[in-house]
């Protein structure tokens, strides 16, 4: 191994074996926007060996203030392809592939079992619940982050052993009352912070260094107040297998709320 990862290898907790583990790891990153850009930079530079980037979206001019993989000349191009182009030029130790499509249950069935870990960098609740379920069915850890204005929350989930997003938020919120970056605005550095914290969880999980089962974190960046909320492992009823996953109505589930 050349000197590129020397500062990683110096850590007793990583060493050459740990770095090799990262180089041998395969991850799926869903979303290459405000969270995905900093996450991908961190994971590619740290030598996560195989990274598949999935995003249905194209780059808009107002994305650039927080999505540092893209330049003004990229406006109108697919995010997944531009992200992979940027990373391939800079990070020779990793292999990248891009999928310019919306992540859905069919894609989960064909791609999740081949990955070691999944990352949700989307702003989409349907994708979040789908990923939580797919992670449980295929027994993969996944890393969550989401932001709102000046606040962020992030967590590592292992749904197959009971630590699931559905434990914390069993019912999706009414989308009418959910803030999104494109409607309420976002402080540019907040997703950068969240994506970097997410990347740190990914590295710890791939290396087996994490001690965050049953914890979800929240930070208010204006006050600096950080919470580490603990929760118990709990079983989730449905969907329980591939067929149920393919038949689960995520759109209906995420719009079926009580007001």
């Amino acid at each position: 191994m050349d000197g590129y990862f020397r500062r990683h290898i110096q850590l007793n907790e990583i060493g050459e074996a740990g770095q090799q583990k990262l180089l041998d790891s395969r991850i799926l990153v869903i979303g290459a926007g405000g969270l995905g850009c900093p996450l991908l930079l961190n994971l590619a530079s740290c030598g996560v060996g195989s990274i598949t980037v999935i995003d249905f979206d194209t780059i808009e001019y107002h994305n650039l203030h927080r999505q540092a993989l893209y330049a003004p000349g990229d406006v109108g191009k697919p995010k997944a392809e531009c992200a992979v182009h940027f990373l391939t030029e800079r990070y020779p130790h990793s292999r990248f592939s891009s999928v310019h499509a919306m992540f859905d249950a069919q894609m989960a069935v064909s791609m999740v079992s081949e990955a070691d870990l999944l990352v949700d960098c989307t702003d989409n609740l349907q994708v979040r619940y789908l990923l939580d379920d797919a992670a449980r069915i295929y027994q993969k850890p996944w890393v969550h982050a989401s932001v709102s204005k000046f606040n962020l929350q992030w967590a590592l989930f292992r749904p197959h052993v009971g630590y699931s997003y559905r434990n914390v938020f069993p019912v999706p919120p009414n989308p009418m009352f959910m803030g999104q970056c494109n409607t309420e605005g976002i402080m540019g550095a907040v997703p950068a912070l969240a994506g970097t914290l997410q990347a740190n969880l990914v590295l710890n999980a791939l290396l087996g260094l994490d001690e965050v089962d049953g914890k979800i974190f929240h930070m208010d960046t204006r006050t600096g107040q950080t919470l580490c909320i603990k929760y118990e492992a709990m079983p989730v009823a449905k969907p329980q297998n591939e067929v149920e996953l393919l038949n689960f109505d995520y759109q209906g589930f995420c719009q079926n709320f009580d007001v």
């Binding site: 949700d120 609740l125 709102s148 606040n151 019912v171 009352f177 919470l227 909320i229 929760y231 007001v259």
Partner: protein
Amino acid sequence: MVNVLLFGRLAEICGQSNFVFDLLDTDAVCEKLKNDFPEMKPLSFAIAVNQVLIVHNTRLKDEDEVALMPPYSGG
């Protein structure tokens, strides 16, 4: 007295991120906030007492901290 922390949209609706209440349980905290701030009624959020998630109404004691955390969706 219990210390109630609100985040995100909840804090915006209430105009502040912190309340001190003399209430017996978490249901009473939610009921008071929803009565005082009806805009909170359609919002869903996780409730933690002393940074432990609760799923049922939970009795509170003096100096407990109750945090109300909504899910976020920005990415």
